[in-house]
Amino acid sequence: MQPVLRASDISKSFGAVRALDKARLTVERGEIHALLGANGCGKSTLCKIIAGTVGRDTGEVLIDGKAAALGSPRLAEAEGVALFYQELSLVPQLSVGENIFLGREPRERLGFTDRAAIARETEALIARVAAVAGKGFTPDARVADLTPDQRQLAEILKVLARQPKIIIFDEATATLDRRQVEVFFDILRELKAEGVSSIFISHRMDEVFAIADRITVMRNGQTVAEFAATETDRYAVVYAMVGETGAIAASVRDHRPLEGDARLVVEGARAARLGPVSFTARCGEILGLGGLQGQGQKALLAGLFGAEPFQSGHVSLDGVDVTAGRPADAMAHRIAYVSGDRGRDSALPGRSIFENTAIASLVRERRHVIPGALFRERFADVLAGLNTRYAGLDAPIGSLSGGNQQKVFISRWLSPAPGLLLLDDPTKGIDLGAKGDFYLLARKLADEGATVIIYSSEDSELLSLCDRVLVLNGGAITADLTGDRLTPFELTRASYGDAA
């Protein structure tokens, strides 16, 4: 029998970055197919291409043996492909029924909405998940009044109502508890019995082996292995994700041994999709936050800086309580934060380089006026120390390259030097030379006594820079890797919640 989906030779570049390089994926009718790989391997891009939200540069997608037109989500839906979104496709102001049938409402005479049919069919859909629907999950309930997991259920029902041939679930279980995951799996098995295929991206190895029939592994934009789930094991899968070179046990880095007392103590920190987590970090330590994207790393950094304060928990630095309610509290304790999303979190667009550097001093030193001459000299020195290339302090920030901009933003925090430096994927989109300067700076600050916490979406960056890496999965710390255990293999394995 021919497969329901056959994607071959799929390539896609975003600017200079090659996200997919002749990737392939074959899904049989009525199978549950797991798609696995480390961050940036291209699995999400491949799914988006199949679901019509991203276009492909080259390659071919056959559905039921015929070339499929996937130019938009609507076209992909017509081809029988549905992508499960995490809540994004529900309108909170509308009812469950209105949401499920939005855009494809059943009609009666004169084109009027057949509300009775919506109620009836929604009722039938809800009956399929009655075991976990919970209180108040009715066709008329407003989505805004539902609990987060009821919303996810509504999202699943919305996909089911479209009766697709292939459903792509991207991290569908991320917010579900154990019992709900079981129900979700029951739904998948029921779909399978009806001949519907599922493509399933998960961040839990347990789940993959519990539910998947076949597994495709991707690495660096290529499809590197295809397994039948019953004929392989998790080690083989992790090896495929990491690749031969990455699997070599100990790397040749020169990490200093960790000694000294903990100076940063985080206890029971909890946020919307995080924790509670507890950990400590030492003076002079570069601590990495690893794991697949969106497992709570950014929430942890934002919480430490007070940008999105923790709901509960305590943070102390050198014995002083520094639990931040807002960024100004954190700055007062010499905590600094640099984000990879420069446009959103860092830049004062249209302003000069000088203004972009001096801005943090207003808060950190409680100044109301910046003494121009003194500060110009100070920041010119700092920027020169970072090898920043710029025309002059009065040039607009937008005239700089991404890497040089990032140096400007970090220079905000360097005089006086920070005690705790939080880096949120800081080298995203900057050139290799600037990255090198950045790593040197992080190491220098650590040597001078700062504690550096870095989240990176690139595992190689964490492996080459950090003394120690905490791996997060579903908002919890699942591994604490140091020394010989700080390897690509262990990092990937722990990212999938499969800690030793």
Partner: protein
């Protein structure tokens, strides 16, 4: 959910209560208030605001706003009276004037919609700018107030059709059109667009078409209002309807439609428009000195809005 909680998103219940209070107060102040002829005269006064408020509801539900509707009213008025005069003022000329007037209203709405949804301009600034353009066009078409419409026009408006006052027929037609639209998927989809645009897009809705349709409806209902006002004033006036846009937005908000979009409906806006109209009427008959009337009217609208907001905020 508690009793108060159930009111969430149903400010119109509060507005309906306010309307009843206003009716009682007005009936006390003005002894003949409930006589059929007085009721009809009041409803005639409120009709243009009711129509503009219904049209504005679609735009606001879709997450936009239309500040230009007052200027559309003026432009439709002067175009209509000019066309009627140019074609000799007989029955054919009047029908032609009405059709062209409605076309101008819908066209103004289409222009607003295309600029805002098509070119992605900010609705608040864009419709402010187009309102100046439409006012300018109105002044160009008819620089001075005047140019009377033929007698049959205003006689029909003030008279009856098949024994029913014309004004009531217009109310009925306006409600039927609103009810027709409310029963179709259009309304739900428009709420989705105003509620969470990203979700509406992911679901595959045609955002541009829905938003443009809302602006066209606003322009069209603005034209209806203008033709009614013309029936009352019986002449052209390039400065007609200047306060209508803001009064209508107040009426829509009073009626429980969220300014952010996604929640509400036309029934509430009708109630809101009646409340705004009645406030003016109550103040007039309370015998307040003329110079305080506008101030008091503003304060009462503010209080009514605050009441609605406080209830929905739980």
């Amino acid at each position: 959910m508690t009793g108060l909680g159930k009111l969430g998103g149903r400010t119109w219940v509060v507005t309906a209560a306010a309307l009843i209070v206003l009716i009682v107060v007005n009936a006390v102040l003005q002894h003949n208030f409930l006589e059929p002829s007085v009721v009809q005269s009041n409803l005639t006064t409120f009709l243009p605001l009711v129509l503009v408020a219904i049209g504005q509801t679609y735009v606001i539900l879709g997450g936009d706003i239309d500040l230009s509707v007052g200027a559309i009213v003026a432009l439709v008025n002067v175009v209509t009276v000019t066309v009627i005069a140019a074609f000799g003022g007989d029955g054919t000329a009047v029908v032609l004037g009405l059709m062209i007037g409605m076309g101008v209203g819908a066209g103004c709405g289409l222009l607003n919609g295309l600029i805002i949804a098509g070119l992605r301009f900010q609705p608040i600034v864009t419709t402010f700018a187009t309102s100046i353009v439409f006012s300018g066009l109105a002044l160009w078409v008819l620089p001075q107030a005047g140019l009377p419409v033929p007698e049959p026009y205003w006689r029909t408006y003030a008279g009856t059709i098949l024994g029913v006052p014309t004004v009531y027929v217009i109310y009925l037609l306006a409600f039927l059109l609103a009810a027709f639209l409310a029963a179709r998927p259009f309304m739900t989809r428009l709420k989705a667009v105003g509620g969470l645009r990203a979700a509406a897009f992911q679901t595959g809705l045609d955002l541009g078409r829905l938003r443009v349709s809302a602006f066209v409806l606003s322009g069209l209902y603005g034209a209806f209002a203008s033709l009614c006002l013309t029936g009352e004033t019986a002449s052209g006036d390039p400065l007609m309807g200047q306060s209508l846009a803001m009064s209508a937005i107040s009426a829509v908000v009073l009626g429980g439609t969220a300014l952010a979009g996604g929640v509400g409906g036309t029934l509430g806006s009708v109630l809101g428009a009646l409340v705004v109209g009645m406030i003016g009427s109550v103040i007039f008959f309370a015998g307040l000195p003329f110079e305080y009337q506008t101030l008091v009217q503003g304060l009462i609208i503010l209080a009514a809005l605050a009441g609605g907001v406080l209830v929905t905020r739980r």
